[in-house]
Structure formats: structure tokens, C-alpha cells
């Protein structure tokens, strides 16, 4: 049983998805999704423990051994991202029932869960697979499901947002296939480990072109500034559950892909010495942090504000990765986990406001701190984490990031990271001020959100504080994962 975990991780949600669509019974589809996501989480924890105890797990799909067959390969980096995706999936599903019922057309609710499971399948598949073409297929499974999820939003603008995402996402995916095709032409292999061995023997321009196509394609998928234009609309108009899930997993998995291609397949020397990638990534990451944070300050819709904040946070992750040092890469990977926690809390709070009030514009927040104390308190906790206040996870990742920059003597970068935090303080304060220091003028019948929304939200708030106080688990795993990627450890 345990040896089949890598493939079960993907097969279970893949099989549950059509069943959820066929059930046509809202509560049943939800229950099935709940069971599936919890099973997936249990498997992800099992895999992480297996990898921590016995090292990399390799699984030959259908018994065809690598590099001829498709290999599922779970090393510490995969297991870590897998845990992030599975954990967010498992926490979002209990939250989904009430929120989806409020925001999604009743006839489409089972289809929503079906698309949700497919999206989960795709994201999990990307993290476990050791085959680059298989990775592309999973990428498209998750993306197509995501377009469907976004299009189910309550506002008609969700459709336009989904359409724009579909166009941009498909361009990105097509660039990735071109890159993969070029790698296959050069090496005759699609297996990641095999590619990593064969690519250094080749020094042709095709390798640089493949690298460029992959970089642009993946950057589109992870919404790296200035390729982030699809993201704000998509996150604003999607149903709250979809926003929470996509904001905390989809872009993270794209960051994982980037790391896999740059470090595992092309290798540190080629990516950062031959192609001097840091000269592209570092400026874009910093520009992304500053411009997206500034834009966030002027937003009137809080979901859109948080979406721009996501673009800024992706900038931090890419900044860490572009340092290409142990501390920098640890910071990037750590922020991947931490940002999933904090952004999920913030979007969950906004989902609860949407559920009770029906709007998430700044005017709707007036005095809401007194009407919905638990929800707004969770928002404040998530906000503190985004700013990077000590005792929250945000502080831990900022600490490593600043440390990584200072280690390299990049004082300006370290300063700009702190400036980014200051800008985050401004946009979070804007909401907090409206919610706590303005008179409540809305409907008097508005009450606190139901427990099914509050419990998952507060579970994540506690996780934000727990991993902010005791970061030994997350930072330890992220550090070891970074060592593997840099080739310092097997």
C-alpha cells in the first residue's frame, strides 16, 4: 500500500472528480470532496514522513522503469509542496459548503466540486511527477479546471476574467510545451533526472532557447510581474472558495515548477552562470513587490487588494529563489508555505464577509469589526502576517529573505524588502481602520459568520502563529529541500 502512495495521491481525486459531477446532489458531492481531500492530506503526510525517513521515493508507473516509462519521483521538495497543496485543500473543503452554496448557481454546485477536485489532481500531479511531458498534462488539467472554477463566480465579470486567464494561461502552457519539445530534441529524454544528466553534455543554442521558452511560460503561470495581468481579475471575481484555493496553491505550484526546471533540470551553473538568470528575476521580483503593493493601496475592492498583494508576495518568493544561495532559496521555499497560510486566512475572511454582507468593497467594511468580530480578528491576524510582524509566519520568511540578501551584500535589496513590508502595512491598515474605527451604518441584522466558515479560518490563524513561533519544522524542511536543489545534499 505505502509503495503506491505517489500514484494514489493523483488517482484518488482524479476518480472522485467525475463521481462528484455525476452525483448531482449538492451535499453528496461536498461529502465526497471532503473525504477525498482528507485522504489526500493523509497520503501527503505519509509521503513526507517516508521521504524524511528513507529519502527520495521513486515509482515506476505501470511497471515501466525510468527513463522509458513515466516515473513519479517524490523528493523532499515535492513532498513539501505536496503537503502545502493537500493541507490547503483539506482546510478549504469544510469552508466550501456554506460559501459555495451562497455564491454558486445551485445547479452548478456538484460541477464546482468536480472542477475543484480536478484542479487539485492537476496540482498534486505536477508536484509528484518526474516526467516533464506528464508535468505539462497535469498543468493543463489544473488550468482548465481553474478556468471553470473562476467562470462560476457570482458576477458576470467572472466570465470575462476566466476568458482572459484562459488566453494568457494557454499561451504560457504552449510556451512550456515548446521548451519541453526542444529539450527532447536535444537529449531524447523526458525524464527529469535523465535530462539533468544529459543536458550538461550539450552546449547548443537550442538549450538557451528552450530555457527562455520555459522561463517565460512558467512566469506567465506564476504571475511574475509584468506577466501578472490575468491574476487580479481572476481572483476578484471567482467564487471565494476558488479564490482561496487558487491563491494559496496554484501560483505556489508554478513556483515549484520554476525551481524544478532551473535547479534540478538545467542546474545551478547553467541557469545562473551561463544564462545569468538573476539579472532577469531579481529586478522583476523587486519591481513586482513595489508596484503591486502600491497598486494594492489604491484598490476599493478588498479581494482585488489581496490579489495585488499576492502578486507582491510572489515577488518575494522569486527574489529568494533568484539569490540562488542556500539562505535565499530557503527563504523562497519557506515563503511558499507561509504565504499559502496567510493568504488563505485573508481570503477566507473576505469569503465570510461576502457570505454575510454580500459585498467586499471597502464601504462594506465600515464598522464591521463590531458586527463580525471573529472574522475581522482573523483578517487582522492574516494582515499582521503579510506585513511580517514577529510571532507570525510572515516574519520568519522576511527574516530569511533579508538575511539572504545581506549575506550577498545586497543592502539595497534588503532595504526594498522592508519597504515592501511598509507598503503592506498601509494597505492592511486601510481595511483595519475602516472595520474598527468607523461607525457601523449597514443592515442591523448582519451577524457573525457561521461556524463552518470560522473554524477553518481560525485553524489557519493558529497555524500562522504556531509556525511563526516554532519554525523548526517548516524552516528545517525548507532548508533541507534547498540543499537538495543546490546539490549540497543527495
Amino acid at each position: 500500500m505505502t509503495e503506491h502512495l505517489p500514484v494514489l495521491q493523483v488517482v484518488v481525486p482524479l476518480l472522485a472528480a467525475p463521481v462528484a459531477a455525476l452525483i448531482r446532489w449538492k451535499r453528496g458531492a461536498w461529502l465526497l470532496t471532503l473525504l477525498t481531500t482528507w485522504a489526500v492530506l493523509a497520503m501527503a503526510i505519509g509521503l513526507l514522513r517516508e521521504v524524511l525517513d528513507h529519502g527520495t521515493v521513486s515509482y515506476a508507473l505501470g511497471g515501466w522503469s525510468a527513463p522509458f516509462g513515466i516515473e513519479y519521483r517524490v523528493d523532499l521538495v515535492s513532498a513539501y509542496v505536496l503537503l502545502v497543496v493537500a493541507a490547503i485543500g483539506a482546510v478549504v473543503t469544510p469552508y466550501a459548503r456554506a460559501s459555495v452554496e451562497r455564491e454558486v448557481d445551485p445547479g452548478r454546485v456538484p460541477l464546482f466540486y468536480s472542477a475543484f477536485l480536478l484542479c487539485l489532481t492537476g496540482l498534486l500531479g505536477i508536484t509528484v511527477t518526474g516526467d516533464v511531458f506528464n508535468l505539462f498534462v497535469f498543468l493543463e488539467i489544473s488550468s482548465l479546471a481553474a478556468y471553470g472554477l473562476i467562470a462560476m463566480g457570482p458576477d458576470r465579470r467572472a466570465l470575462h476574467a476566466a476568458y482572459k486567464y484562459l488566453i494568457m494561461g494557454s499561451i504560457g502552457a504552449t510556451f512550456i510545451v515548446i521548451g519541453i519539445g526542444m529539450m527532447y530534441v536535444m537529449t531524447g529524454s523526458l525524464n527529469m533526472v535523465d535530462l539533468a544528466e544529459r543536458l550538461p553534455e550539450i552546449s547548443s543554442r537550442t538549450e538557451s532557447v528552450a530555457f527562455a521558452f520555459l522561463t517565460v511560460g512558467i512566469s506567465l503561470k506564476l504571475a511574475l510581474f509584468p506577466l501578472h495581468l490575468w491574476l487580479p481579475d481572476a481572483y476578484t471575481y471567482a467564487p471565494s472558495t476558488a479564490t482561496i484555493f487558487l491563491a494559496s496553491t496554484a501560483t505556489k505550484v508554478a513556483v515549484y515548477m520554476l525551481v524544478r526546471f532551473f535547479f534540478t533540470i538545467f542546474g545551478l551553473t547553467f541557469s545562473f552562470e551561463t544564462m545569468t538568470l538573476h539579472w532577469v528575476l531579481t529586478p522583476l521580483a523587486i519591481l513586482g513587490v513595489l508596484s503591486a503593493s502600491l497598486t494594492a493601496i489604491y484598490q476599493q475592492n478588498i479581494k482585488r487588494l489581496l490579489a495585488y498583494s499576492s502578486v507582491a508576495q510572489i515577488g518575494y518568493m522569486i527574489l529568494g529563489i533568484s539569490l540562488a544561495t542556500l539562505t535565499g532559496l530557503t527563504a523562497g521555499l519557506l515563503h511558499l508555505f507561509n504565504h499559502a497560510l496567510m493568504k488563505a486566512v485573508l481570503f477566507m475572511a473576505m469569503g465570510a464577509v461576502m457570505h454575510q454582507v454580500g459585498a467586499v468593497r471597502i464601504e462594506a467594511m465600515r464598522g464591521l469589526g463590531r458586527k463580525m468580530p471573529w472574522t475581522m480578528a482573523a483578517f487582522v491576524a492574516g494582515g499582521l502576517s503579510i506585513i511580517g510582524v514577529p510571532l507570525t509566519v510572515g516574519f520568519i520568511s522576511k527574516w530569511y529573505l533579508v538575511l539572504g540578501a545581506v549575506e550577498q551584500g545586497m543592502w539595497l535589496v534588503a532595504f526594498l524588502v522592508l519597504l515592501g513590508s511598509l507598503l503592506a502595512l498601509v494597505y492592511i491598515w486601510k481595511v483595519v481602520e475602516t472595520a474598527y474605527f468607523k461607525e457601523y451604518i449597514g443592515d442591523l441584522s448582519i451577524r457573525e459568520a457561521p461556524l463552518s466558515l470560522l473554524v477553518p479560518m481560525w485553524v489557519l490563524v493558529l497555524a500562522n502563529v504556531y509556525f511563526g513561533v516554532d519554525a523548526s519544522l517548516t524552516a528545517g524542511v525548507a532548508n533541507r529541500a534547498a540543499e537538495i536543489l543546490l546539490g549540497l545534499a543527495p
Binding site: 493543463e140 458576477d155 470575462h160 484562459l166 499561451i171 504552449t174 519539445g181 476578484t236 468593497r361
Partner: protein, 121 residues
Amino acid sequence: MRILGLYNYWVFIFLMMVGFYILISRRNLVKKILGLNIFQTSVFIFYISMGKIVGGTPPILLEGQEEVLYSNPLPHVLILTAIVVGVATTAVGLAIVVRIKEAYGSIEGDEITAMDNETPF
């Protein structure tokens, strides 16, 4: 001669640029999807070209003919998968366009953006 000999790769680049240009320049949502289709089709040609050898036969083992020059079937099989993905993308895209037409009464990107900006959210 070398440049002419690679003509299928020139076709690949040409189609890719045509598709990409349509994607960027057109505002009509259906035309954009057509552009995306041409863009994706160019990649199919790229994959099919790279597996083909001059004079290569299909990779079928015949009795008494062990030394046959055959084309690499793997890129061709891979691209079957990519074609399915392309079809699915087109289907999802067109389904969204149908719903946009129902909701907005238009499929012109500019008009829809203008309508989006009218209503604050």
C-alpha cells in the same frame, strides 16, 4: 540549401507568429480563440517534424526486416496528447464565450471591458 531544407521549421515559426499576432491584435473573443488554435497547431507541426526522418517508415517490426529506418513515434504520440489538450482548451474557451454572449450580449472585447468598467464592484 540548409535553410530551405528546414522548411517545416519555418512553417512552424510562421504559424506561431500568425497565431500570436491574432491573439494580441484582435479584440473579438472568438477570433482570439482561433488565433490560439493556430498558435497551438504550430507546436504540433514542430513536434511532428522533429520525429520524422527522411525516408523513415512507421515503426512496425516486419519479419525478415530488422534493419528498417523508422521515424521516432514518441513525439507523434506526445502530440496526440497535446492535440487533446488543445481541443479541450478550445471547448472551454468557446463555452465561456457563449456564456459571455448571454451575460453581456456582445463578444467584442472592447465593449465588454467598457461594460465592466461601468459597474463598480
